[in-house]
């Protein structure tokens, strides 16, 4: 993240909300968010609120966002592999949101020029849910989704 953008985050919604949360006793002392961490976005409970907290507005559905090596069923919700590739020109960031998790936003990746708009990581899913891949490209937001089923595994005890 370049300095100007980090500056924008710091002076934008992020820190204000962080201060509010701290004041309201939601955050314990010592839990100050790392620099450049968008508290507001990570506390959101809907796709629209998350996009808003990230500084955008209603995302458009896109077929140019592809889930790669992302299974339809997870044998265990503690580790769910997610791979996202954006074929939208000028992709600036890719975020992963999980609809039925207590907080929807799982991760946001900022993609500088020269870095492929493609990455993979692993998330936790509390239950079967839609997973959203939210892409910011040329200042606009786009979204694609996929349902991943979480199964109960093992001997049950």
């Amino acid at each position: 993240m370049d300095e100007s953008r980090r500056q924008a985050l710091r002076t934008g919604g992020g820190l204000t909300l962080l201060a509010l949360l701290a004041a309201a006793g939601w955050l314990r002392p010592g839990d100050a968010a790392a620099e450049g961490w968008n508290t507001g976005a990570f506390e959101s409970h809907s796709l629209d609120d998350t996009v808003k907290a990230l500084g955008g507005s209603a995302p458009a559905q896109s077929k140019d966002i592809v889930f790669v090596a992302t299974p339809d069923i997870a044998e265990n919700g503690a580790v769910v592999p997610i791979g996202i590739t954006s074929n939208i020109p000028k992709t600036e960031s890719i975020a992963i949101l999980i609809e039925k998790n207590p907080n929807m936003l799982s991760a946001v990746f900022d993609i500088p020029a020269g870095t492929d708009p493609a990455l993979s990581t692993r998330v936790k899913m509390a239950q079967t849910s839609n997973v959203y891949a939210l892409v910011k490209a040329d200042g606009k937001y786009y979204v694609a989704s996929k349902e991943i089923k979480v199964t109960l595994g093992g001997c049950g005890g």
Binding site: M1, D2, R28, G30, D31, A32, A33, A34, E35, G36, W37, N38, A41, F42, A78, V79, V80, I98, N101, P102, N103, L105, S106, A107, V108, F109, D110, I111, P112, G114, T115, D116, A118, L119, S120, T121, R122, V123, K124, M125
Partner: protein, 103 residues
């Protein structure tokens, strides 16, 4: 203090593929211990990757990134022997940086 990361950086054509494993609890803050007390959230919040000092990826993570996180990405450029550095910062303010060279 967390263990060192495992960083693999491999030249594939004209790009460098980076794969990282980090040792971290990624505690959600939703779980309770045996006594019924909530286990406080403890998780990596930001990740920065640089190639010879130039930022090639930054990330913000929430509590739902899986424990002992894995991350893979690719960027254009890179030569054998170039330095890749990964840094994470968690919500306790702990920070860890590790390096690898492109193979």
């Amino acid at each position: 203090m967390a263990d060192p990361m495992k960083i693999r950086a491999t030249l594939v054509g004209d790009s460098t593929e980076v794969k990282v494993l980090m040792q971290h609890e990624m505690e959600t803050g939703q779980r309770k211990d045996a006594q019924g007390k909530t286990i406080p959230a403890w998780f990596i919040q930001t990740v920065t990757a640089t190639w010879n000092g130039k930022t090639v990826l930054t990330a913000q993570w929430g509590t739902s990134v899986a424990k002992n996180p894995f991350l893979a990405f690719k960027f254009k450029g890179g030569a054998k022997g170039d330095r890749i550095q990964i840094t994470w910062v968690d919500n306790h303010g702990d920070k860890r940086s590790d390096e690898a060279t492109i193979a």
